[in-house]
């Protein structure tokens, strides 16, 4: 079977520190994999290596079996790797609509079109409106992104990713810093993506209840290395995860 996405011996060092240490892992198409691990385990760095924000010191990233290690972040985005960020990362002074439209436009490869009026591309705008609809932000389409409450900004972050229509969705703690009543909205969006069946989803998340419910599979990173991989219930119960989270037993 060809993996939708695969990393082979993926490694990055910062000075003497190995942040991600020879992680080999394949992600089957249509599955949702949760990546867990304590703070500083290298999860976000692992994401950065896959989406191209960082270049690996060693190892490779493969998309549908093709080595994409040499590609830049924009090129990987065009190949179908989409990424939502841990800290909200929007265009603050542009409107909600324009934020999403920039993603739709990138997907359509229209960025270098200098001679048409942007608002005349009805198809792109319609597509953006659809996405707005799914995240229930239609009423706020003309507000500047910076003016949105935090929960809506997180929704917009996810909406931008959906507008890109990637094959691989990467969510980095999508519910971080959200109030309790806002969390289900985001989870419903991810659940919706999962039920489409053809999307490969990678999810970094700390809330174990969320992970257990959504994930088909869990991998555990600890000190940059992949230490466990498998069925959610099994992995969560395994001693290695206990150790990663609780700390190594040290003689008293």
């Amino acid at each position: 079977m060809t993996f939708a996405l695969e990393t082979r011996e993926l490694t990055i060092r910062f000075g003497g520190h190995v942040a991600v240490n020879a992680v080999s892992c394949g992600f089957a198409p249509g599955t949702l994999t949760a990546i867990v691990g304590p703070n500083g385990a290298g999860k976000t760095t692992y994401f950065n290596l896959i989406s191209g924000q960082l270049k690996a010191s060693a190892g490779s990233v493969h998309l549908q079996g093709h080595d994409i290690s040499g590609l830049s972040a924009p090129q990987r985005s065009h190949k179908g790797i989409g990424r939502a960020f841990q800290l909200t990362n929007l265009f603050p002074n542009l409107s909600v609509m324009e934020n999403i439209r920039l993603a739709v436009q990138s997907r359509a490869g229209m960025g270098l079109n200098m001679w048409s009026i942007w608002s005349s591309h009805k198809d792109l705008i319609r597509r953006a409106e659809e996405v707005l609809e799914t995240v229930a932000l239609t009423a706020k389409r003309d507000l500047a992104a910076a003016a949105l409450p935090h929960g809506d900004q997180r929704k917009l972050e996810v909406a931008i990713l959906m507008a890109l229509q990637p094959d691989i969705f990467m969510f980095d703690e999508p519910t971080a810093g959200m109030s309790v009543d806002e969390v289900p909205v985001i989870l419903d969006l991810i659940r919706g993506l999962k039920t489409q069946g053809d999307k490969t989803i990678l999810l970094v998340e700390h809330k174990m209840d969320v992970v257990r419910e959504l994930a088909d599979r869990i991998i555990v990173l600890h000190n940059g290395a992949l230490v466990a991989d498998g069925d959610p219930a099994e992995v969560i119960a395994s001693p290695i995860v206990q150790e990663a989270y609780l700390g190594i037993e040290v003689a008293k």
């Binding site: 989406s51 924000q53 830049s72 972040a73 924009p74 090129q75 985005s77 065009h78 990424r83 960020f85 990362n89 929007l90 265009f91 603050p92 002074n93 542009l94 324009e98 439209r101 920039l102 993603a103 436009q105 990138s106 997907r107 229209m110 960025g111 270098l112 079109n113 200098m114 001679w115 048409s116 009026i117 942007w118 608002s119 005349s120 591309h121 931008i160 890109l164």
Partner: protein
């Protein structure tokens, strides 16, 4: 129709719309309302600087890049035409050749500067462009065989554009329609076209990407936009439009020298116009250029009066000396960066949103 012409970017403020209509109407009626060489000259300068300021805003306001090399491209345009006309004689072919060559030089230069240094931080880029522009200015005054050195080049332009054409001009509403009037209207028409083209560019899908880069370059990259390409494209476009503004300048003045197109003072003027008019809005360039150039004349006259009135008060007299007008615009500049960074246009639009 208007919507298409303005690329969907309407003034969005009644006051601004009225102001713009007044400016445009004023510019087109100047020969008839304010006869005399001086008024026409100020109006022509306004037109040229609208193009120049708009092209600078494409870079500074829309893409968020500070460059101090913008007058270099302005100078290349002006020198290109001036040198071609000196060498090839006053023909339209010479104008086309000069402009074409100047555009090529600007293209190459802006591409090199862009690719070499656009990856670095804003301050770094500002410093590098400042250094390059200074070197270019020195080059222009050293190559006096071509450029006329510090004296510059006085040029003969195609006959159509000279005040001696035609021998017996027709009178229209009491104004003699000679070559000077013709060249003014050609200039004004070119300004309108170039302005609308730039307005279109900033309102195209491409223009939106530029704004996205200004707002959050990292995220634009993650969306799949190769930002180096866009930043370089913005740099090149802005340089080409500045070059065209330079062509217009040389054709209007029948002269070009370091002080009219290359000097750092003009760069400063440009900064003042962009910031006061409003960064990130094309209309800001219209408002900024008009206000600045009117102030340059009006303010100096006012200061002359004030200075004479205060001739007994030592320091104050010197502070309002007409040569010190830049002092006051400098103060205005600093205040506007602090107080209303979106400039006059931004302020007007904001007001329009607050009370619809």
């Amino acid at each position: 129709m208007l919507h298409r012409l303005l690329s969907g970017d309407l003034p969005r403020s009644r006051v601004l719309a009225v102001l713009l209509i007044l400016i445009v109407a004023g510019l087109f009626l100047v020969p008839f309302i304010f006869p005399g060489a001086k008024a026409l000259d100020v109006a022509a300068k306004i037109c040229i600087f609208i193009v120049l300021v708009a092209s600078f805003d494409l870079l500074l306001g829309y893409t968020g890049i500070v460059s101090f090399a913008h007058t270099m491209f302005f100078g290349i345009g002006a020198y290109g035409v001036a040198i071609a006309l000196t060498r090839l004689g006053p023909t339209w072919t010479a104008v086309a050749a000069g402009a074409g060559l100047a555009l090529l030089v600007s293209l190459a230069l802006s591409l090199v500067i862009g690719l070499f240094s656009l990856r670095v931080k804003a301050m770094f880029y500002a410093m590098i462009t400042l250094a390059v522009a200074t070197a270019f200015q020195t080059l222009a005054s050293q190559l006096s065989d071509f450029t006329g050195g510090e004296d510059g080049l006085s040029i003969r332009v195609p006959e159509l554009l000279t005040s001696a054409f035609p021998e017996v001009p027709r009178l229209f509403l009491g104004v003699a329609l000679n070559g000077k009037i013709i060249s003014y209207y050609l200039l004004a028409a070119t300004t309108v076209v170039l302005f609308l083209v730039m307005l279109r560019i900033v309102n195209s899908p491409f223009g939106r990407v530029l704004q996205a880069i200004r707002e959050n370059e990292f995220r634009a990259e993650a969306l799949g936009y190769k930002t180096v390409i866009y930043r370089t494209a913005s740099n090149v476009l802005s340089a080409l439009f500045a070059t065209l503004a330079g062509v217009l300048l040389a054709l209007w003045l029948h002269y070009n020298g370091p002080d009219t197109s290359l000097s750092f003072e003009i760069m400063i003027d440009l900064l003042l116009m962009v910031v006061i008019g409003g960064m990130g809005t094309m209309y800001g360039s219209v408002v900024g250029a008009t206000i600045f150039l009117l102030a340059q004349n009006y303010l100096q006259d006012l200061m002359k009066v004030a200075s004479r009135g205060l001739s007994g008060v030592p320091v104050l007299r010197d502070l309002v000396h007409p040569d010190r007008w830049l002092l006051w615009l400098g103060v205005l500049f600093i205040l506007s960066v602090y107080r209303f960074p979106a400039g006059i246009v931004g302020k007007l639009r904001m007001k329009a949103v607050v009370k619809p």
